[in-house]
């Protein structure tokens, strides 16, 4: 069962199945880690985005909720991510002014959007808009 784990409330509300984490980006990662330990598989990289932890108050990870023994790839990724977030200064959502908060939430949502669509997690399943400027869609290599 695909599921989003996030501390980004706005994103959480637009998703069909999500666990909202009322806490920091690190809290999200730790929560994901617990799920991985009990068998869930990570579907999106827990460090997506190109910002340091001190610039990333929101984190969102899509998992496939399963039980069983831990998946090594998922485990390596989440442990690495937790270590990186633990050794950095964190930025808490409540420390930010509204404008910055909106920017950060926006980037987080944008980074997840494509993946949420792929795993059919967006509510009311808005059709993905054409992200290319000029060429026809037939050029795209579609993935199922």
């Amino acid at each position: 069962m695909f599921k989003l784990i996030t501390n980004n409330a706005e994103l959480c509300n637009s998703v069909k199945k999500a666990d909202y984490i009322n806490g920091s980006s690190l809290d999200v990662l730790i929560s994901v880690r617990g799920l991985v330990h009990s068998g869930s598989i990570i579907l999106t990289h827990p460090l997506c985005g190109n910002l340091r932890p001190s610039h990333q108050p929101f984190r969102s990870v899509i998992i496939d909720e399963l039980s069983g023994s831990a998946d090594i790839d998922s485990l390596t990724l989440i442990e690495n991510a937790v270590n990186i977030y633990r050794s950095s200064e964190l930025i808490m959502p409540y420390e930010l002014d509204d404008y910055s908060l909106a920017d950060y939430a926006y980037i987080d949502s944008e980074l997840m959007r494509e993946s949420l669509e792929r795993y059919r997690l967006i509510k009311n399943n808005v059709k993905n808009e054409n992200l290319c400027t000029a060429p026809s869609l037939s050029l795209l290599v579609k993935e199922v």
Partner: protein
């Protein structure tokens, strides 16, 4: 005795016994305490067997 065998291999363990899960390597909370202890005993016996086996390279003991 570890759950994630590849990690033990990477860090250089020589006799490796795979276990149940990260938060409970030698147990399984979904079983009754009696069943759980039988499971644990079989894993520990496997570890003892591993200790009594001559090896020349990293070896995973699955039975």
């Amino acid at each position: 005795m570890c759950t994630i065998v590849p990690i033990s291999q990477t860090v250089g363990a020589n006799r490796i016994v795979p276990t149940i899960a990260i938060p409970h390597p030698l147990g399984n909370p979904s079983k009754t305490p009696e069943e759980e202890k039988i499971l644990r005993r079989s894993l520990v016996e496997r570890a003892l067997k591993a200790l009594q086996t001559e090896i020349t390279e990293q070896t995973v003991f699955t039975e």
